[in-house]
Symmetry: C2
Subunit: 353 residues, 2 copies
Amino acid sequence: MVRGNVRLADVARAAGVSQGTASNVFSRPEVVREEVRERVLKVARDLGYGGPDIKGRLLRAGRVNAIGVAAVEPLTYFFDDPWARTLMTAIGEVCDASGTGIAVVSAMNEERLAWNINSALVDGFILLCVEGGERLVELTRQRQLPFIALALGIEDETIPALGIDNICGAAAAARHLLELGHRNIAILSIGDVDGLVGQIAPERVDQEMDATPRDRIHGYWQALAEYGLSREAVPIEGTLHDRPSTLRAMEALFSSDTPPTAILAMSDKVAIYAMQWLTERGLKVPEDVSIIGFDGVPEAATSLPRLTTVAQPFAEIARRSVTAILENALPENHEALDLELVVRDSTAPPRAD
Amino acid sequence: MVRGNVRLADVARAAGVSQGTASNVFSRPEVVREEVRERVLKVARDLGYGGPDIKGRLLRAGRVNAIGVAAVEPLTYFFDDPWARTLMTAIGEVCDASGTGIAVVSAMNEERLAWNINSALVDGFILLCVEGGERLVELTRQRQLPFIALALGIEDETIPALGIDNICGAAAAARHLLELGHRNIAILSIGDVDGLVGQIAPERVDQEMDATPRDRIHGYWQALAEYGLSREAVPIEGTLHDRPSTLRAMEALFSSDTPPTAILAMSDKVAIYAMQWLTERGLKVPEDVSIIGFDGVPEAATSLPRLTTVAQPFAEIARRSVTAILENALPENHEALDLELVVRDSTAPPRAD
DNA sequence: TCCTTATTTTGAATCGATTCAAAATAAACG
DNA sequence: CGTTTATTTTGAATCGATTCAAAATAAGGA
């Protein structure tokens, strides 16, 4: 039951009509006389013709009606990382409305015959640039299709990109803890560089960190400074944005003489791991330790306790990106959207004692 | 910066070589003399030619290197439904290993120009048939591409399908509760028919239910019978597999004179909603009420308490499905894989009193 | 019946590459 | 230097449809 080798031309010949008419029967049935249409359809059925092959149509039409979402991550990333998943859900919503399909593309695999940036059959790309952004953009440029980069921390203004205001968002998070009265605060940072685990000295932030975590730290610092806290007074523990390194970071933070009363986590994922570590250690959130996340993924609303966080405008990001691709109206320069502080149950004033 | 309108033929002409040679420069560079290759590449660069257009190549080669995963659900389903997501993650893992791409396809949208089953550029389909299975299979058949149906509850043996042994799995779940000593048990069923919410009489199960929930109920009944419990003694509450209807079902169940001491939930998703309802009502799991889920999604391992469940062999399902599509070695008949009881913290013996 | 207008149908061109038998060129050898 | 063999290059056919100007046919009006 493999695809029959019957072509439109065969049907046309067998039905005694021109190929043009046969084509019309399938793609613009209203223009062909009913009697002819019926005959052609019958012949097609008899021959086992399954309708116009999409590949032929595509070559002519040039448009696929699908967008690719690419990241320098394995395919599993799109379905299990909370941030990616939330964004994909938002993108799915927009695509549903416009009848657009989604192809997920992993840019890790460079093999010739593999499905990758230059073989994906799509009308354009949305790039998730959390890591390896430059390379991803470079690869995509070659393809000469419209694309828009999300979460790109790159200065190059010629790249169409849509971002969030990490500095303001992070500052809002820190300010929230400070307003509650916390003064002994620690930062849980995220990154993919092995060197950036364990305690990170302030001067390394600008030298070694990717743009996104760097900006967030600057946002934190900004608010901390408003309350007279120096950079040195706030330890930064680096994680690899996964469970093991987060648990190790918590271990380090809480083996200090003066463990923090509040934690600024740079993602909800890390925040939730941290909460789990605290709960297992018998420390109560928010009574013993307050914690605030970043991103605003759905898990943050259902965790126990529900996580206070700074939410990204996922729906807005998705809407703008998809529209930009489909209408080929790419932003001329980098836009940064605002985040929103969402106060839930994981933050409270520090214990009186 | 739209895709340049430079074609391979233009490059060939400008470089003074035949189109065949130009093609070889890109797709089989080793056969063309270095000097010529360099010249052609230079010309290509100067003209702004971005390499062979994938659409042309496709038409010739016929193979896309991507599989489609389709469901009669919106696109968001693939990224936020726990079961779908877990399966997609498993499929992603297999595809990563073989350099295969994934396109997600919603079969809800029937519009002409929308991306759907017959316009998706893929080498084959994996169908998630939780609902509307027949229609989905029907649509896919027309496309004449290899496909395999998952979670299909259809008798038609001519459809290549891979399933799980719902009856045995459900029986194992029920047996677990019975062995713990529970005798007052309720079933939380799932479905998409509005008529099947609220209490469902046993005789309606065979008449109105889809195959998957029906089989699970039969599995439950089978184990219950082993312990002398009649069908009538075990209330079935129907849900639409979402939060509101699950909460309503719980409400109904626990407003009875003799509320259940244990719940057989037909999916982890519903089980988790039910646990939330119980927790909010001050009922402790598993001390006051035991609950067992179905599916074995990751959320079940991180919920509080961690959910006892019957786990599907997702990795195995994914491996077999993807291989079947890529190698066009579709199973001749329905296969049913075994499930595994995973005992965690949401089940315990009933209270002594 | 003849002319005009509306509706259908035709057939060749086109989309952008790959493929492969045959021709051309280069290298190797006695 | 002439043959034989190996390496490159050519050019036309092919993949499977859509498109559109032009031709054919049908319908309407006087």
